[in-house]
Symmetry: C2
Amino acid sequence: MQFDYSNKVKAMRPSIIRELLKQMADPGLISFAGGNPSADAFPAKEIREISDALLAGPPADVLQYSITEGYPPLIAQAKKYLNRQWQTVHEGDEVIITSGSSQVMDFMAKLLCNEGDVVATEDPAFLGALNAFRSQGATLVGVEMEPDGVSLAALEAVLSANPKPRFYYTIPNFQNPTGYTTSLAKRKAVYALCQKHGVPILEDNPYGELRFTGEDIPPIKAFDTDNLVVYAASMSKIFAPGMRVAFCAGSADLMGKMTVAKQGNDVHTNLWGQRVIDRFFEQYDIDAHIARLRGVYREKARRMMDAMDRELAGRATYVPVEGGMFLWLTLPAGCNVPGFVAKCLERRVALVPGSAFLVDEAAPCQSVRVNFSTPTGEQIDEGVAIMRQVLDSM
Amino acid sequence: MQFDYSNKVKAMRPSIIRELLKQMADPGLISFAGGNPSADAFPAKEIREISDALLAGPPADVLQYSITEGYPPLIAQAKKYLNRQWQTVHEGDEVIITSGSSQVMDFMAKLLCNEGDVVATEDPAFLGALNAFRSQGATLVGVEMEPDGVSLAALEAVLSANPKPRFYYTIPNFQNPTGYTTSLAKRKAVYALCQKHGVPILEDNPYGELRFTGEDIPPIKAFDTDNLVVYAASMSKIFAPGMRVAFCAGSADLMGKMTVAKQGNDVHTNLWGQRVIDRFFEQYDIDAHIARLRGVYREKARRMMDAMDRELAGRATYVPVEGGMFLWLTLPAGCNVPGFVAKCLERRVALVPGSAFLVDEAAPCQSVRVNFSTPTGEQIDEGVAIMRQVLDSM
C-alpha cells in the first residue's frame, strides 16, 4: 500500500550522522564523526552491582509499570543534583524524567508549535534537536554563533521579528557542534532578551559536567526568576546513553503538559535505568565520579588539540575547548569542505561537514565537527596526521 | 511565565486511569482498575541471570548509544517470533523496536494525520491509544464493538464516509476494555473492507499470547498481502512493562518514517531491555514461558468469573473471556454507573467506568471494566462480594 503521509513527514529528515554511523561499524575506521561518550567513562562496575542488587529484590520494583513523571525517589535525587551548585529548580518549577533529552526537544516543539510556527536556535546547533523541531512542523530561524555564544544583535532581531519565535534553543556549555561556551555576560543577556520579548528558552545541557579546565559558569536556568527556561539535563554523558534517561526542569504547568505528551508516547521511561541511577546517587559520590570523567575527557581533548597544533598549524584553525566532546575545525577559505571530508573518508577518517548542523544546510560552511571522545589516543594522532596529508594534497 | 500552547495541547487529556492509579498506592485498596500484568508472571529469575551476564561483558554492549531501528539481533529474533505461528512479517514489511507499543500509536498518528484528520477506532477502545491519537490533533470516529468484534455495517459506513479515516485502530484479541475477541470471519471482513477503501489498519496485539482457553486465531496481519497493516506487539505482558519494549511490523516505507520519528524522540529504545529480551529468546523456550503465563492468567480469570457467577448472577452480566486481563461487566439498565463506581471506591474497591474508554466520554455506558490480572485471588473474592453489596444497596 502507498501511504499518504502527513505534512510533518515532508519536513522530517533522518540525521545524516546517525545514518552515517550505521555504515561505520568497520573497526578499521577512525571515527571523529560520532558523538558517543567515551566507553572508559561508564561507571560499569557500579552499574552492574546496583543492577544485580535491584533485580534480587521484589521483581515488580524494577519490572512493573511505573508513573509517567518518573520514579519519585529519582525525581527527588534529580532536584538535589540540579540544585547542588546553583539553584536551577525554582519555586514554580517541577522536574520530570524523560527517555533522553531528545524527548524534551520533541515534546517542547509539540507543546508550543503549530504547523509553521517559528523556533529560534543557535546556528549551527545540535542536529538531533533541529530535526525534532522540524518533525513537529516548526520553521527554524538561526541565530549566528560566536566563540563566546550567540550574537546578541542577531538574537534581538530574531526575537523582535514577527512572527515571534515560540521558543529559543541553546546549548550554553561546549556546544554541539562548535564546542563554544557562552560567557556569563552573554547568558545573562540572553535571559534578559528572552524575558523582555516573552520567549521561552530551551536550555540543553548535556555536556556541562564535562568541563576539564577553567571555571564552571552557571546555567541560564540559574537566573530564571520567571520560570521561562526549560532545562534538559541528559544523563547520557554522566552515566550511559544506552539507559535513555534525562532530567527535565521547568514551569510546573509546562511539565504537567509534557507529562501528558509522554503518557501518550512511551508511558514512562524504562524503570531499570531510572532505578540504577537513583541508587547510584544514593550510594556513590556523584562529584567524585564526575571528577574521574573529567580526567578521561581532559586527556582526550588535550591529545586532539596537541595533534592539531602539531599537524594543522598554519593549515586550519580551531577555538580551544574547556570541556565537552567536540572541536570545530575551520579550513582555509577556498578549501572545498565536502571534498576534504570525502577524501578523509577514503583514507578511513570520518568527519561531519559543518553544514549538516546549519538551519540552512545549503549555506556555505568552512568548518567540520571533530569528536574526540570516541577515538583512542593513537587514533587521534593517526587521524589528524591523515587530515594534514589530505589538506596538503588539495 | 504564562505559556502559549499549541492547538494539540487543547486536545490532549491525561489518562484518567493513570491519574487514578497514582492515588491508589494504598495497599488496603482492592484494585480492579489497573491494567498491570500479574507480578507472578515476570520471568524475574531469568532476567536477573541474563542481566548480570550482559553487564559482566564489555560495558559498551549494554550502555552505549545504539541504532534507532533497534538492536539488530533482537530485530532478527522478533521476525522469527512474529512468524512462528503465522506469517505476520511479509515481503515488503520491516520490523523496528519501540519503547512500548504506545509509541507506535503516537507515531502512527503523527505520520498519517494532519490536524483534524479522522482516525477510526473500535469504540470503546484502549484509552492510551485514543489519547495518543487525540494528542496528534486527530478527530476520533468510533465504530461500535460487539462481542465477536466490531459491527461490520458500522465499520463500512465509517470507511465510506468523507473525509476518509487515515487509519483504523483495532485490538482483535481480548480487547481492552471489553475483553472481546474478534472472530476469524470478522477479521477477514475487516481486512477486506479496509483493503477496499484503502484505509491502513493499526492492529494492536498486547494480549494475544495470554489466551488461556480456546483456539488461537490468526492476527489480521496474517492476511496482509498489501502491507496495509501495522502490527504492534507489546513485550510488556510477556516480559515486563518496566522495560518499555515492543515490536512493530509494517510496510518498510512506513517503518522507515517511523524510525525517523523515533530518532527525533528518544533516539532508540533503552538497550538493556532490548538485550535482555534478545538473550531470553536465545537461551529460553519462549513457548514454555508463555504456557506458564497462560496458567497464571487462567487461574485469575477463572477466579474472577467464578466470583461473578456466584455473587452477581441476576444482577449484572458479562461475556466470558478466553484470555487477556479484562472483563466488561454490564449493570442493569437504570443503574447509575458513576454512582456504583463511587460507592465501590468508598468501600475500597476500584473500578473504571466504561465511559472512560468511549470516543465520546459523555455518551451513556452501562458497563465497567474489571481487571483480574493485578489483584490476588482473595482480593478478587472479597472485591466482587463488595460489588454485590453495593449493587444491592442501590
